[in-house]
């Protein structure tokens, strides 16, 4: 009976304190990957827990890092190692042969959390954040996970603010990121996280209702050989050239940047159809051309007259 009681008490402890695990093997984080400032070309960045490892007697998880670009091409971006100290409820990242604090779920509102800058071997290069608030979020199967809302409070090119969920991490990116580097490609925010306990779709990702591994090629980068619009950018007018064999253009619609209709024409007659557009402001416009079998969308730029 005593053995049974001890067993039950141990089980009890495990149920209360051991229910949260970080990065179980197979856990996946899908992050949005933007390829630049002025493009909607979008791939994704995948972190995946692939194996256990022991460093300095600590049981760590190895995360693979894979970038899939807007054309669906994969690039191996190396690995990261994290360590979950379950007694202290802290996550550490292994960098430059040391463990550095990444998440601390014992902090409360007003507390400061100092995080190591990821690309500097200088120990005092760090990101200072404050905890704005804390809370709990309940997931299916009554899994309750702690929340932290943190904010960077010192000028730094590295950022680590926003909402952090226990087990899932920062809803921006798992690790601090160089904000300035984003202009040349940026892996944030989180789209989805899943493991054998939790399936999470970020609210920000959910806005556009696409799969976690969705890739998107900028429409302006797709060459439509048989249907062209020139010049682009234009100053006062542009011409639609229809070279599609045996098909006529049914309609032309032009929208401004905000989707407001600017112009509509049905059945333009000529194969080289010029549209005068000098009375509209400079900026970006969308041209939708419908043929019998397909709809084409072009992004057009109207430039200043001074050119």
């Amino acid at each position: 009976m005593k053995i049974f009681l001890v067993f039950i008490l141990i089980l009890n402890s495990c149920l209360v304190f051991g229910q949260i695990s970080w990065a179980p093997i197979g856990a996946e984080w899908y992050y949005n990957y933007r390829e630049g400032v002025q493009t909607s070309a979008t791939g994704y960045y995948l972190l995946k827990s692939i194996k256990d490892t022991i460093i300095d007697s600590k049981e760590c998880k190895v995360l693979s890092r894979t970038l899939v670009n807007s054309k669906g091409i994969s690039f191996n971006d190396g690995q990261s190692v994290i360590y979950y100290n379950s007694l202290e409820n802290k996550i550490f990242r292994y960098l430059f042969d040391n463990f550095y604090l990444l998440y601390d779920f014992t902090k409360t509102a007003g507390d400061t959390i100092v995080i190591k800058e990821p690309n500097s071997t200088i120990s005092y290069d760090s990101i200072v954040t404050v905890v704005d608030s804390v809370g709990i979020e309940t997931f299916p199967d009554n899994i309750q996970l702690k929340l932290l809302y943190v904010r960077s409070v010192e000028e730094s090119k590295f950022n680590f603010g926003g909402k952090i969920i226990e087990k899932i991490g920062n809803l921006g990116f798992m690790f601090p990121f160089n904000s300035l580097a984003c202009d040349a490609g940026c892996s944030l925010p989180l789209r989805c996280y899943n493991d054998d306990q939790v399936n999470f779709v970020s609210q920000e990702h959910d806005v556009v209702q696409v799969p976690c591994d969705f890739v998107y090629t900028d429409a302006s980068l797709v060459k439509t050989a048989d249907l062209s619009v020139y010049p682009n950018p234009f100053t006062n007018s542009f011409t639609i050239k229809n070279g599609i064999h045996g098909e006529r253009i049914l309609s032309i619609d032009l929208f401004d940047l905000y989707g407001k209709p600017i112009l509509h024409e049905d059945h333009p007659l000529s194969k080289d159809h010029e549209i005068n557009f000098c009375n509209y402001p400079v900026g970006l416009y969308y041209l939708k051309i419908k043929t019998g079998s397909k709809t084409f969308t072009f992004k057009l730029i109207k430039n200043n007259n001074i050119q």
Binding site: L5, N12, V16, R34, G36, V37, Q38, T39, S40, T42, T108, A109, N119, S133, V134, G135, I136, Q144, Y149, R151, S152, K157, F160, G161, N170, G172, F173, F177, S179, L180, A181, C182, D183, A184, G185, L188, P189, E204, H205, V207, V208, Q209, V210, Y216, D218, A219, P231, P233, L257, Y258, G259, G283, L284, Y286, K299, I301, N303, N304, I306, Q307
Partner: protein, 447 residues
Amino acid sequence: MKKLTFTIILFIIIKVSIGQSNFECYTLEDPYEKSATCNNWNNYSAVDPNNTPIKTVRITFHILQKANFTGNFPDNSTSRNWLSVNLMNAINGRMGSRQSMNLPTSSPAIADCRIRFTLANIYFWQNDTDWSFQITDSYGDNLYTKYVTSQAGVANKTNSIHIFMSENDAIRHGRANNFGSKDWITSSRIYSDYLINDTYGPASIISHELGHAMGLHHTWSSFDNDFCNDTPTNPNCWNVNEPTGCTPLSNNIMDYNANQNALTICQINRMHYFLLGGQGNISDCVISGVSVQNPAIVGPDLICSTGATYTLSNLQLGVTSTWNTSPTNFFQNNTGCSNFASILPISSSVGGAGQVSFIFDWQKYGTSSTSKNLWVGKVNQLDICTFDRNVYQADNIFSPGTSCQPMSAIISNGKSVTMIGGAITLNGGFEVQLGGTFEVKNTGGCQ
């Protein structure tokens, strides 16, 4: 045994419940509100940009070419003219004629951010590797070392922002070195843009990167604190209907969007603050447009028990100000960081002469200050000898009073004075010069 098992299960349930209730829960209404400091530009929203001289900032273009001269932005008079006129016009056009914000903001619409760029030099360099834009962290640093600090004729160009223009595939990339850094900016696709005479795209990305160089952070999310409260975050919607259904769309230049044509007053203040030398070394590139001029304090001469607010006219962008009051035992609040001072008397019985002063920080150009004399509360008796303000109020006013030596009180030409009191006595030596005005009231003011 069944009882024991039931008891243990009950114990587990109670323990789990207690464990969950130990967590703290705070209100999450506005977790990203910034604290008030002297550099919190939300305290300076009433600044009038048109009173700020336009700051001119020097930039230098470095064009990367392939050694075999294929696929290169050409080096000829036409291409140089395209850079120095067309592209520069497009960049400066974005500085001088901005649009209002699409997303809700507390910022007023600012058409002219009072910053322009002037092209100092154009350099052409041939290197196949550098011709291709690289996403790596070291790309910009390497270009700066190779083509600026290691070049005898360029290394001394330390008063210019160096902009490296290269190529890559169809996607336009950019990068800035750091917030407030003059060292380098990178931008890709310049030849592709030149071929189709597109200045809109490169002007957008260069303006965005120059925004970083002048201290601006991205505005797109809570992941990146931009130190401005008037730049709303948006739900990862980078372009209208790309991906499908994406809305609403920001048009802030420091967001990722197709238009990039708006800035808030907080962002404009931050840029001017950096250009004055508040942070970083970008201020080395400012070649004109800094003129230290004290603003004027606007507010009443008399403060009653309900207090008064003093504002500034002609406060320039980027200039921070602190204010203080004296004597300190007259007021509930004696100091602050903002371009206005709302002050309250410490009690309804306090009375006498006081002062509100503003001290302006022009960063590397020093400080300046201005003060305003004022009267606080109810005054029983007042002797007026000189007229250093416009309104005087007391139960009994004597001008000149017996304490005045010599016995004179002269309202000079152009001066307008109002005396408010129960009894006003004008003695010998009181004089209103031609062009001065004088008014007497026996009610009003602090009762």
